[in-house]
Assembly symmetry: C2
Homo-oligomer: 424 residues x 2
Amino acid sequence: MSTTTLLLQLIVILGTARVCGWALRHLGQPSVVGEMAAGMLLGPVVMGALLPEVHGQLFAKATLGGLSALSTVGLVLFMFVIGLELRAHQGVRQQLRAAGYVGVISTIVPLVLGVALAPVLHPALVPAGIGFWPFALFLGAALSITAFPVLARILKDRGLSTTAFGQLSLSAAAVVDVVAWIVLAFVVALAGAGEGYDALLKITVGAVLLAGLVYGLLRPFFAWLLRTHAPDGEPSTTVLASLMIGLLGCALLTEWLHLHAVFGAFLFGTCLPRDDRLLRSLAQRIEPLSIVVLMPLFFALAGLSTSANAFSNASLGAMLLILAAATFGKIGGGLAGARLAGYGWRDSLATGSLMNARGLMELIVIKVGLDAGLIGPELFTMLLVMALATTAMTGPLMNLIGGRVVAAHGTTASLATEPGPREA
Amino acid sequence: MSTTTLLLQLIVILGTARVCGWALRHLGQPSVVGEMAAGMLLGPVVMGALLPEVHGQLFAKATLGGLSALSTVGLVLFMFVIGLELRAHQGVRQQLRAAGYVGVISTIVPLVLGVALAPVLHPALVPAGIGFWPFALFLGAALSITAFPVLARILKDRGLSTTAFGQLSLSAAAVVDVVAWIVLAFVVALAGAGEGYDALLKITVGAVLLAGLVYGLLRPFFAWLLRTHAPDGEPSTTVLASLMIGLLGCALLTEWLHLHAVFGAFLFGTCLPRDDRLLRSLAQRIEPLSIVVLMPLFFALAGLSTSANAFSNASLGAMLLILAAATFGKIGGGLAGARLAGYGWRDSLATGSLMNARGLMELIVIKVGLDAGLIGPELFTMLLVMALATTAMTGPLMNLIGGRVVAAHGTTASLATEPGPREA
């Protein structure tokens, strides 16, 4: 019976994800928007309301353990490849100053706006036992995310990858990744360890030890292993298994430090040698199953964690506030940063609009917050809708701005076609 | 907490599998023997006896749902690739008569010996509620398995793939796969549906409908899909997702028919177009994660299902009987078949010895039997030990026979080196 349920859940989830991905791609959206929407459709808000009995049977709480394990493995693999890619991305060094301006300012502005919103949202939406500051800082961190992968995808689909603002926003997104994830890790650790001086000390010591272990020990070890056992960048079964054990070990260590497995996975990805062949061959081995089979399960579980309360009249105002703070904070911050770095208005606006795509990364962040008890299902739902909306608006915004920007760079914009394996 | 447990289980299992695989490879064994042994080590017989508290905490019954889901997905993916490979293997048509003799006789002899053993084993080892014939036929089917993948691996490692008896045993193993799995499906369905005329009718109708669906509907559909959307044999994300949905759908249908998901997965693999590029690109996308990460979980769960009772004095006799029936039945049957087909004594003996390798396939079969309630943990353990022993003896037996056979074919035998991604 349990195998039957699991297979049925997998079929329904993969089927819905593909249909929605396909439908939204025909509307010019990256298919990750469709897959995120598929997760919402399978949750209590849509399927649970339309087919309550089927939904209750198919996704009964007691049957979700298997999906959850598959999704955890998928998430760890996904974040590992993100870390690898971040390291392989060379742009940051080439335009450090501009990427720094855009990255830092477009992180700080939505972060501050998020913290500023917290006193308004706190009374109604904070879970029991969570203090004001962890809640406020998490909200800020959640608003400050940019999705490096979906951004790369949008640029590639439109032939904008080699434009100045395209390169700039990619590099800035890499900076945001680092800054926002450090803030987030800090907040989550704070929530797990409690507030106060002792907790701060614990987090700091833990983080230093972890960084020392990963960069002082694992980095040289795996550099040696890959140099001697996979000099052509093609890891054998044994090397791949060693990488997996290292990856799972880092994920486990971060869980022990009251962080979340995704941080360790990401960190481990960044410690491997910068090698395009290695990145390509690891991505070839890891991405097909994790992107096609495992990530839709993550979206579905996120959808199952949503709450219809977020769509009540009382809550819609809060949702709009969050969406506005996220959008204006991000676009404004990106625009300001690019202007400061000497870019023209149009390129700066395009950069800001691209930084606003939050994609799957935002879902990972809010899932971390939900698991850590920093937010409840209602705020989780609002942030999920915000992630969907900001990601979906990037394409149309680029259409508005893009035509002229593209003309200025002498290439033609192409609409989204069949996408590659990943876009998040 | 649950994520921590899952990560810890994954690390321990993958680590043990790699260490054992590495150790046994240095003894000239294919690493799958080591990985199977690793599963036994993690079970109650070894780790459970040495470190009962750690074992009880790490592998508590309530925490195995995640591992089980991951292992199910791994198994379905694995059997799908086996089905694909069977279809791509051209040998059977080229030497239909000889492969038929070896395949059929080396299936029937151990099957008959297994049934003959059943009256001896039945009183002590049959689970409650299972009649004599399902038990006896299952035991026969379990003894009659040959592992196509591990056989291919052993031949490749020793440079014997192109020898006459190498080709013969590969083709015969393909025949065994088909015959033994049909017998097994029949037995499992019988156990699920109950004995009697009605049950037989149900099984027959279900099997005909399933075969009609897969070969009449899915086969032309996927042939068309692959021809139009992946003419270069490189499936896109969408095509890969469609294949996964078809695969999971077939697995689900067989579960509904009181069979086991592995049958549907295997059947679906055999219905795809015979195309080497497609096989290669699908294997590249599916095998790394399923072989390196997911299959060791299957071995570990098999190990956790074993029982120390199988090693009591009272049971050792039964275990030896099973081992003898399996070994002599298979080697004798293969030898007889090859002699009948006109091969010399040495080549025939080598063929029989190769057919005796049961590898991972045997574990899948006995897991099916355990899940269906046809056997209990004690007999499961005996059959697992038999699978390990028969697979491990293939290399030494080939050393005994091989030197002369190889000389007769003018090539040199090479010992096992670093193996490729799969060997089961």
